[in-house]
Symmetry: C2
Subunit: 447 residues, 2 copies
């Protein structure tokens, strides 16, 4: 493949050059310009398309002429991107796309401009080749995914009739390797919180008051240490009650994947892994809940010594949840746990952060089977059936409001550096994504 | 007492106006000017006195004409002061002394200018009244106590012959209350260290890698939680082996003092105390060793959530030691303890901070009995025999190099705010200090 001649490259680069960073209001004009570019692209393809205002950045909706008796497929994606910090770690500027050895480097190359554009150009190709699509198609491309999709729920509610569909296809997850595609049928949920302990009114001299004053940092360590047992299971009573056990077909299927402990050690650059006894690293990352300390602080953190007893100490915690755990239920359990074990000599304040339900889809439904056939044809190999460890809370809103099944057909590779410097996407994946789109619509039409 | 007419007030205020902050080189001229002022004061009293250069700020030495057959008493003090931060919390400027209701407010009012000047003026009074002192007297007033007495050991070594003495009297500790003086016969020692744990090379996404990557903050919490048992005893094996048990006379004597749990709660402004089971708050603060977390940090500490697994986490620890614990021995025990319990999945780095031996003097020696008589006469009540929880490492150097017994005769009150904003010293304490000096030299001469 002489990839530098790929016909889609100019449009891909145009799309990548928009600095559509959604978290920073200073980029709003670029975000808007990017939405306009998309609408114009959709219209040139022969779809009806429009920029739809929201309370924040606009949503772009495009569709073909719906016909009765056809399935309706909604393809969700986003045209906004992550900030580029630390910009000094980029080899070339993040918004000046660069092709090197068949790989495109730019912010958004994978997440999500590359993946959504592959779908768009797949549709364009089908229209050019056949003059028609096999399904009623809706593109919903939002501009706030990287800043929490704050306005999407309200938008979906307001437009639930027009957006009614049978299923929602999304390419915003991962593949196992360049040769091995995947259908992702599960994601973990999350519950986050902060715990803050207070002792005396001010920092104290540890000589004068050491042994007498409550030390919130010491107490905090004891509370956090109690979060796990010796087998590194979460020790909060009731925590596992709602956890669905891993199925035999999942464990045996995952055991075949080329993702072992060494893979994880290399990925995180650590000499060893840690986690719950009795499960492989892959099982722990995809399908077992966790309790993590995301941050901890208190007392003197500067150079050298300062012999104080801190007046307070805090920890930021997050719990990754798996089906069928609920953030609200976990909050109750964790709160009760800390309230029970926190000694009365310190004051405890718990602040609740954000929550998101875990996601589980049926990888054996007729739509999922259709998607698996499309994946297999696009890559010439059967896709892996996987879960992932992260959370995409907006999927619940999409599924809940539109009442449709979700298909996660990721095109990202493990080293695509999404959210990081030197984000990249191979042209081979882009082309496979176009093929996937054509095959997917075909298979779904027949399903 | 019409304290505003106290004849010593002008000289006390002059002494306090020098901004003799020893830690900040910018104040060196003020430190030197303060030393010069002291020399000049000593000379006006009829003592021979000089500014003695060191590798840092100078030492001031003053003495009367030594006569054979008399005891030699060295009075140690310091003319340097702590920095004044946070200066905005001072009611009036720290170097503009102010008298209010018989109490002087200024940086150094208690620590140590007020206390050492009371001794100096006591000597002046005796010389004026009697023309002679009952002992051979040496004043050693240093300028680096608040920055660690870095150059005093070398100075003492170089001048050990001229500074040879029978005992060393120091007023740099506390009284129980304005009515109850104290002889301090013990201080705690210290050993400080930092422990740092490392997991992966960088912070990781807790969705993708939670349950797989080592979390140094979680491991740190487990290590710190292991420092104490359920009775809040330090759980490091061997930690208490060298600890001298409290004597019956100490426990019964201290139980009589007006320093109970409520006293401590008010002093630290906390609703409860915490500490080793089986000992009163006073016993824990004065005569039991501790393990304290002085600071802890790792991962995300900003506003809101950031769901990372931190690449590292650290804690600053200090251990207060009691007779006969040694910092070097405690270092070995603590290091072995952490090395044994730290899981191999994280890397541990231990950095040793500073150490200081605990101090124990004999409150029943003939000199101590003489000092107790002087204290009793100066205040009209028997002094309490106490220990204190802090550490004054230089005392070991003084005792070791000069081979003399140490008498700690503090004039500071619990609310003197040494090292804090609005440091203060009652004129009544200043006057009692002058009386104490006169009586002390008299009693020591007879002892």
């Amino acid at each position: 493949m002489d990839s530098s001649n790929a016909p889609f490259l100019p449009e891909y680069f145009e799309f990548l050059r928009f600095q559509s960073i959604s978290t920073d209001p200073a980029y709003a004009p670029q975000v808007n310009a990017c939405a306009d570019w998309l609408v114009s692209k959709f219209q040139r393809m022969g779809l009806s398309a429009q920029v739809c205002p929201t309370g924040g950045h606009p949503v772009v909706i495009a569709r073909n002429e719906p016909k009765p008796g056809r399935r309706t497929v909604l393809i969700y994606g986003h045209y906004d991107v992550q900030p580029v910090d630390p910009v000094e770690e980029w080899t070339t500027p993040p918004f000046e796309p660069r092709l090197e050895n068949g790989v495109v480097f730019a912010r958004g190359a994978t997440d999500n401009k590359g993946q959504i554009l592959a779908h768009i150009l797949g549709v364009e190709k089908t229209l050019r080749e056949k003059g028609e699509l096999p399904v009623n198609l809706i593109f919903l491309v939002e501009g706030e995914e990287e800043s929490g999709s704050q306005n999407l729920a309200a938008f979906l509610e307001a437009h639930r009739q027009e957006l009614k569909c049978d299923l929602i296809a999304i390419s915003d997850t991962g593949m196992i390797s360049p040769e091995l595609p995947a259908l992702t049928y599960g994601l973990r949920g999350i519950f986050s919180m902060e715990i803050r302990l207070k002792g005396a009114e001010s920092d104290l001299h540890s000589g004068i008051y050491g042994g007498v004053a409550p030390n919130p940092a010491t107490v905090l360590a004891r509370l956090l240490a109690a979060l796990h047992d010796d087998a590194f299971r979460v020790a909060v009573p009731g925590f596992y009650d709602a956890v669905m056990p891993l199925q035999d077909w999942e464990r045996s299927g995952w055991a075949q994947l080329p993702v072992n402990d060494d893979f994880f050690k290399m990925a995180i650059r650590a000499h060893a892994l840690m986690g719950e006894a009795g499960y492989s690293a892959l099982e722990r990352a995809w399908a077992r809940p966790t309790a993590e300390v995301n941050g901890i602080g208190g007392g003197y953190q500067g150079q050298g010594d300062k012999t104080v007893i801190p007046r307070e100490a805090f920890a930021k915690l997050s719990f990754r949840l798996v089906p069928d755990q609920k953030p609200e239920a976990v909050e109750r359990l964790v709160r009760a746990f800390f309230e029970k074990i926190c000694p009365p000599e310190v004051q405890m304040e718990i602040t609740i952060g954000h929550g998101g339900d875990p996601l589980l889809c049926d990888p054996h439904s007729c739509y999922a089977l259709a998607a698996r056939r499309a994946l297999a044809k696009a890559w010439g190999t059967e896709p892996a059936l996987i879960r992932e460890g992260g959370s995409i809370p907006i999927l619940h809103t999409l599924r809940g409001v539109l009442g449709a099944e979700i298909l996660l057909l990721g095109l990202a590779l493990p080293d695509c550096a999404a959210h990081a410097p030197n984000e990249n996407f191979p042209l081979a994946n882009f082309e496979a994504g176009m093929r996937l789109n054509q095959l997917l619509l075909e298979e779904l039409a027949k399903a």
